[in-house]
Amino acid sequence: MTFEAERSRAARLFILPAVALIALFFLLPVLAAFLLSFTDFDIYAIGNLANARIVGLHNYTALFANPVFWTAVKNTFYFALVGGPLTVIVSLGAALLVNARAVRFKGLFRTIYFVPFVTTLVAVAIVWRYLYHPQYGLLNYMLGWFGLGPVDWLGDPRWAMPAIILLAVWKNFGYNMLIFIAGLQSVPEELYEAARIDGAGAVRQFRNVTLPMLAPTFFFVGVVTMIGYFQLFAEPYVMTQGGPLKATTSLVLFMYTEGFRWWRMGNAAAIAFVLLLIILAWTLVQLRLERRRA
């Protein structure tokens, strides 16, 4: 046996455990779920497998005919397309502030902004439900100073999703902020120096040095945030249970209720695959945009 062949055999042996684990705990369940999405596996089938039928594409066609599914799609896109960019902008803003030379106690601010990210969502949600209370909430009290409101944050179908987005942005910007800070700190100081010598002010330095140098960070943050936001679940699950009038029912929440509340596993599996396709398509779009720019 040649050295090369032996080396590749060794490499294959080394990756075997990881591949085996992925196959067993990831690929196999995904395949099973895919097959499940073509059956009407439900509570009756749990009792007796003979009560399950192979229904072909029926779960998918029924899904596309179900208004709740389209509401969930709309809500998910609403949340991701508004909440995602907002989170990235707020994170970048916070990163710039914390990283600014004039700021003291940088470590303290970093920690404070990061705390929401590591706090349990359920605890956070309880506090935010107080903040959002239509009569006694702090938010409406503050709106009152400007003669606005009161807004029924979680009870009004128009306001429930903005309320969820606000909570999600506040909860998640800390993590992206840390990544942006790392990105900012890796921009070589000479570039700013050169820009200053060329007479660039703060705004032009930001546009022509900081932003281009942060492009890879933007890409990473954008993709990870969007993938996470398309899987919106915990916030509406805890805050609104998908209401009022399904205004905060996301695709994952819809999948969860179909699967684990009503045990319509076939339906739930179909939703999961539609969501997979949406996320895949979106990530490809982002990848394409990134390539074109590069």
Partner: protein, 410 residues
């Protein structure tokens, strides 16, 4: 030997105390009580069934029984009750007992009972000119209007949470709606009886007698009740204890309970047959032992102890007599109401159907969808849910016919 018992919520703490007494009577037997929170109970029980990790017995909400019968998880109990000197159907509230019989077979024994009725502010009702709660819808509605006309801004006659199915379903039952038609094959919500009830219900919001609010919109219902934001609230027996504990002293003596009014008076004022029951799982190797524990907990004396520990109302009428609960100022309304209870349709899909009831109620209340369209949509959604049930029933009845035919041919 060990009996593994899954109890739900606060009942688990109470039953642990009783289980110690049972262990003293049966040396060598231990009862292992596992506490499951109500919100996770349904998922956990089904997951345990799928994973073959069921306990010997459990506490089950009465409305869940049909579902667990459908998946074949429960042991029929008739063979146990025929030899039992303790568990006798005659001792129980008939409407409650009936919820545990599926196609004439008994699968569960009622433990404690639950139903919904009116909690109200006596002082507000008196100011509106009533010294007791009217028994008919018409009188009730007039009392609510009288309360509303004397109320301040943001004060209402009644709190009917928009995200609860109980109210529209109870009103429907009161109007005589079967809810489901044709042995649970189709929804019957567009029928005239349910339509009348739904119109009555919806009108309470449209005329401003009830606020358009769900539980999520109310931070502390007990505070609001004290403030007079609502003069009435349809809720269950656990709130007797909560009202005593949570309302300030100034409010004690000013609230009362009353059986639900009905469209044509008292006897039509039915409510839901709720509560929890004991079940034994088919997979249990200790079924006889589990049954002896059920018998122990079903003794009137143990039911009373359980009531004292948990505040849950006993399922046996003799336990009510013995304790004087029957004439208790707050519990008496429940005693009356429990003789006027109806079971919800015994189909495994019921819980799912209730979520559709909430969807269409909210669409009508908050979204302004007209009654006939909301109810037509409700029937359509419910019929989709029941599609599998219709298929199974058709398949099984044709199979029965086939086997009858082949038996006749032989």
């Amino acid at each position: 030997m060990t009996i593994r018992f899954w109890a739900l919520g606060a009942e688990a703490d109470a039953v642990r105390t009783l289980a110690r007494d049972f262990e003293h009577l049966h040396p060598g037997v231990t009862v292992e009580v596992q506490q499951i929170p109500w919100t996770a109970a349904h998922e956990k029980l089904i997951t345990a069934y799928v994973g073959d990790a069921m306990p010997d017995m459990a506490q089950l909400g009465n409305t869940w029984v049909p579902e667990f019968v459908a998946i074949g998880a429960l042991t029929p109990l008739d063979s146990f009750t025929t030899h039992s000197t303790v568990v006798d159907s005659a001792a129980y509230f008939p409407g409650i007992w009936a919820t545990n019989e599926i196609h004439g077979v008994l699968y569960a024994v009622p433990w404690y009972v639950d139903t919904r009725l009116l909690f109200y502010r006596k002082d507000i009702l008196a100011r509106a000119g009533y010294d007791s709660m009217p028994g008919t819808w018409e009188g009730w509605r007039r009392a609510m209007e009288a309360i509303r006309s004397r109320a301040g801004p943001r004060q209402y006659a009644i709190f009917l949470p928009t995200n609860e199915w109980n109210q529209p379903v109870i009103f429907g039952m009161q109007e005589g709606s079967p809810l489901l038609a044709d042995d649970g094959r189709y929804g019957a919500f567009s029928d005239s009886s349910f339509r009348r009830a739904f119109t009555f219900y919806l009108d309470l919001y449209r005329s401003g007698l009830a606020p358009v609010a769900g539980y999520n919109d109310v931070a502390n219902i007990y505070q609001e009740f004290t403030r007079g934001t609502y003069a009435m609230w349809i809720t269950g027996p656990w709130n007797i204890g909560e009202f005593k504990r949570r309302l300030p002293d100034s409010m004690q003596g000013k609230w009362a309970t009353a059986p639900l009014p009905g469209p044509t008076g008292d006897s039509s004022g039915v409510s839901l047959a709720g509560g929890s029951s004991f079940v034994i799982f088919r997979t249990s190797p200790h079924q006889a032992l589990a049954w002896s524990f059920i018998e122990f907990l079903s003794q009137p004396a143990q039911q009373l102890k359980f009531y004292q520990l948990s505040g849950d109302l006993p399922s046996r009428e003799d336990a009510w007599h013995a304790s004087g609960l029957e004439t208790d100022v707050y519990a008496h309304a429940f005693w009356v109401q429990l003789h006027r209870v109806r079971a919800t349709p015994k189909v495994p899909e019921w819980e799912d159907i209730t979520s559709k009831v909430i969807d269409q109620s909210e669409a009508a209340i908050r979204g302004g969808v007209p009654v006939s369209r909301a109810l037509a949509t409700l029937d359509r959604d419910v019929n989709v849910i029941l599609d599998k049930r219709r298929w199974l029933m058709a398949r099984d009845s044709s199979r029965l016919a086939d086997s009858a035919r082949s038996a006749a041919a032989q």
